[in-house]
Subunit: 123 residues, 2 copies
DNA sequence: TGACCATATTCGATTATAATCATATATTAT
DNA sequence: ATAATATATGATTATAATCGAATATGGTCA
């Protein structure tokens, strides 16, 4: 059942955190690594799982792969949107992640700079 | 995260089928066994998992344990209701289960009679 | 009381999932 | 070309989920 694949894809904290960030707009893999403080391999695998369930789509631009939420799937499964809109805001960890994202956006740093360790968060 | 426990509890076909039936009203364990054609130990385990996530509540009456959906939890997590209302109807298996439930209701058979094999479904 | 029945729980085997480390591939930059 | 970087993918290990069969528990009824 495809529905179950979708629900399973949502049943992991890291993947919910990824969706929470991407709900604000697309990000590349290395940005997600830095923002969520997870290693490259984990990031890639979780992203792959979400993309397999068609919750995410990806696009390669230059050396980076950008992931974003698949809007068609959101429309097909409105409960996903429900979770994104109403549940994740209740989760402390997800609110912190959004703060980090804001800091990152405001800093003007691009993902080209991430490797230089220019990104450091308060928390 | 409690949210993840809830989502995990929903990420299994048998458990979704159980919820689909109980959404029509409470049933005891042996009725669910017969309607879903699953064995006793599986029925009990899946029910327990749903009850642990507080998606179900149970009540013992005479020798039977009746399970029903916990309405408070439905209100707390509206996405569950979304799934029950909009997703399960799309699932062939769940529609078949509802047919069986109708037959069962119309037959006038009670769960006291189930063990005698009085219940037999078309499909 | 004792036999029976509905349900829960344990056990062992199997499979799925997640994390980590190492390596492969492909793109960019020099 | 060569080196460096971003991402994906094996291989391995640890942990959790699932299932069927058997057993335990606790209530019911003769």
């Amino acid at each position: 059942m495809e529905l179950i694949q979708v629900i399973k894809a949502l049943s992991d904290e890291t993947r919910l955190r990824i969706l929470n960030l991407l709900y604000q707009g697309e990000l590349c893999v290395c940005e997600l690594e830095a923002l969520l403080d997870i290693n490259q391999s984990n990031a890639s695998r979780h992203l792959n799982r979400l993309a397999n369930a068609r919750i995410l789509e990806s696009e390669k631009r230059a050396q980076y792969v950008y992931y974003r939420i698949d809007e068609d799937t959101l429309r097909e499964y409105p409960f996903i949107k429900e979770i994104l809109d109403n549940e994740l805001v209740k989760v402390e960890r997800c609110r912190e992640d959004l703060n980090r994202l804001s800091q990152y956006r405001e800093s003007g740093i691009s993902c080209d700079d991430l490797k230089d360790g220019k990104l450091c968060f308060d928390s």
